[in-house]
């Protein structure tokens, strides 16, 4: 092709001899592989330590200590008129029930033949959760015909008793603990052997509401789970249509000019804004300006929508971009309008990417705590489960991560265990969402 003569070949030696330069390059490659393996291994170790720590610390929250005791529902105390009038029965507060329970427990202790110095009904109080009376009262109000009978109850044990059986509370720790004494712990051992105190699965932790500082044994994540659920409804309902519509417009229809460039840069930057900034924005816009109710999942959802939108817009635009232009040409070539080309061909092909981005955005929102601090969804919000949609959106509630944060803040170590348990539940949710994202991506993916 050319007249220029080729230079003499540089490698005159045999191919079987490896020269210094090749050696050096091979060594560099081996080193790089080693770095890579080390990096992956480090990551795996961290992950294992993290998961191990979470499981080790959190599994306890799913177990709870109960006291099984038959309680005589004394009509003389619970319904003095004897008319079984529900209004009269409601007038008896939990204080009226306490002596009954304590007496019942004392009877059970004495009957079981446990050796203990404790012999008064009042001594039994420290074994029982403060919520035990409420537990019985709720049952009685729901079934007034039980009054006068002896009913078997499975009452919550006090958190110290629970902690003692789980190994969290040690004998040497309780010497200065006014909530429990060593004699109670001895009795606990005896009753545990006698089958009066048992450990069981803690359903209330998954379904219940938060409880006050002094009764961690009663606290559950259920109501804040509903709070998270309603927030996610708001986030999904707003950010998916807004985000997808905005991305389609920007990607397919908007002209390329300074203004759209500016919008694009801003969206990318918004994705990197710390979430607490969205929190204070939500506080200013939705609560102080629009006067929406504080601590409501609606406001939380709106705030998280602001936070999720950039993520959804960015991932949607990326997946729209990844649809080959030849498909748009094909549609336009047979006389489809721009919108038909986008909605009939481009959007279905971008769907897996859009759904993945949305679910990841939602998962991010589900785990977000900081913005909730500012709109009042963190704190002691012990509410009953919402009754219906309106109260779900508008009544004060917490969210899963906020509840976990709140528990981790409290002094009682029993709450520490609950916080780890809450994290297990949260992770299960996040993992489920990610698995859904993977399944959707697989299902919608089209072969070319």
């Amino acid at each position: 092709m050319t007249d220029a003569s080729l230079p003499e070949p540089r490698h005159a030696r045999s191919l079987k001899e490896v020269d210094a330069r090749t050696n050096q390059r091979n060594r560099a490659e081996t080193r790089f592989r080693a770095y890579g393996i080390a990096a992956v291994a480090t990551g795996l170790v961290f992950l294992l330590v993290l998961l191990g720590a979470i499981l080790f610390n959190g599994v306890g929250a799913f177990q709870q200590t109960f006291i099984n005791v038959p309680v005589y529902l004394d009509p003389a105390k619970l319904d003095k008129n004897g008319e079984r009038n529900i209004e009269d029965i409601k007038k008896v507060s939990t204080f009226g029930y306490n002596p009954l329970i304590e007496q019942a427990l004392l009877d059970a202790v004495q009957e079981s033949g446990a050796k203990t110095e404790l012999d008064s009904a009042a001594d039994m109080k420290k074994l029982l959760s403060a919520s035990a009376a409420a537990q019985i009262r709720d049952t009685v109000i729901a079934n007034p015909e039980l009054i006068g009978q002896t009913v078997d109850f499975r009452l919550l044990a006090a958190s110290r008793v629970d902690g003692y059986l789980k190994g969290r509370v040690q004998r040497e720790d309780v010497t200065r603990d006014k909530n429990i004494d060593v004699t109670h712990l001895d009795l606990t051992d005896e009753l545990h052997d006698a089958g009066i105190i048992t450990k069981g699965f803690n359903m209330a932790f998954i379904t219940g509401a938060d409880a006050s500082e002094s009764r961690p044994e009663q606290a559950g994540l259920g109501v804040s789970m509903l709070g998270s659920f309603f927030m996610m409804l708001v986030v999904l309902g707003l950010s998916l249509p807004i985000g997808v519509a905005a991305s389609i417009y920007l990607e397919e229809f908007a002209p390329q000019n300074r203004f759209t460039d500016l919008i694009e840069v801003n969206i990318s930057n918004l994705a990197a804004v710390p979430s607490i900034v969205f929190g204070i924005l939500g506080l200013a816009a939705f609560i102080q300006f629009a006067h929406l109710p504080q601590s409501a999942p609606l406001v939380g959802g709106l705030t998280l929508t602001l936070m999720t939108l950039p993520t959804i817009v960015i991932s949607t635009r990326a997946s729209l971009k990844s649809v080959p232009p030849s498909i748009r040409d094909a549609a336009l070539g047979v006389g489809a309008s721009k919108m038909q080309a986008v909605f009939h061909h481009v959007l279905p092909m971008a769907m897996p990417g859009i759904l993945t981005g949305t679910i990841i955005g939602l998962a991010q929102a589900l785990g977000e705590t900081a913005p909730l601090l500012l709109i009042g969804m963190v704190g002691y919000i012990a509410t009953n489960p919402p009754e219906g949609l309106a109260s779900g959106f508008l009544d004060p509630n917490s969210a899963m991560p906020a509840q976990i944060f709140e528990w981790a803040k409290r002094a009682d170590p029993a709450y520490y265990e609950r916080a780890w348990g809450g994290i297990i539940i949260l992770l299960v949710f996040l993992m489920t969402m990610n698995i859904i994202a993977i399944i959707l991506r697989r299902r919608f993916e089209r072969r070319w």
Partner: protein, 265 residues
Amino acid sequence: MYDAPTLERDVTQATTKFSARNVQVWYGDTHAIKDVDVDIEDKTVTAFIGPSGCGKSTFLRCLNRMNDTIDVCRVEGDIRLDGEDIYDKKVDPVQLRAKVGMVFQKPNPFPKSIYDNIAYGPRIHGLARSKAELDEIVENALRRGAIWDEVKDRLDAPGTGLSGGQQQRLCIARAVATQPEVLLMDEPCSALDPIATAQVEELIDELRANFSVIIVTHSMQQAARVSQKTAFFHLGELVEFGETGHIFTNPEDERTESYITGRIG
């Protein structure tokens, strides 16, 4: 151009389908098409040849306003289809593209079934009133595309699962299904092997009976095989336009001669 000696010229006086005058195209500051005048006849295959980047595809895309989708692209001059200015403000490019179908360089079937690929155009244009009618349109289009026998038993299979040559014939069938008057083909065989190319070329020759076909090609042999008229583009200019036989045997311009003899391009 009618002063040129006529070699193998069709004796029937064909009507002009497209007529372009003074067409200029700019991509931003780049002057991509300079002063192109051309008349394209109905029921004829016209080939656009020229070296890469000479503007032949750009000019082709002006004819169904596909360049509208490119923001920086600006078209000036006068392009008329059956005497109507296609760049008139009142012309909806969507309607124009239904009349002027296009087949692209790379086969680009929709990721849908073979049936849906063909039925898409007729559906959005409302060409079929019933399922039976649509079935008929699909069958006719696939027969026109010379692919019916190969796919008639698997109309529900994805169009993307066909071989490259079959995909391209599917795309041609898809373009035919909307009943256009002109078919634009942008290097339709560049991604195909010789056998598939031969099939597509044969098909193009058959399509000439009903459509005006304009084909952009890199292969001079292909232009010589399939076209009746040839236009040679060079650096954005239309250098020479005339009967294919004439261009290939007796070019008037030096540049045309250099190109077809392989000295440039």
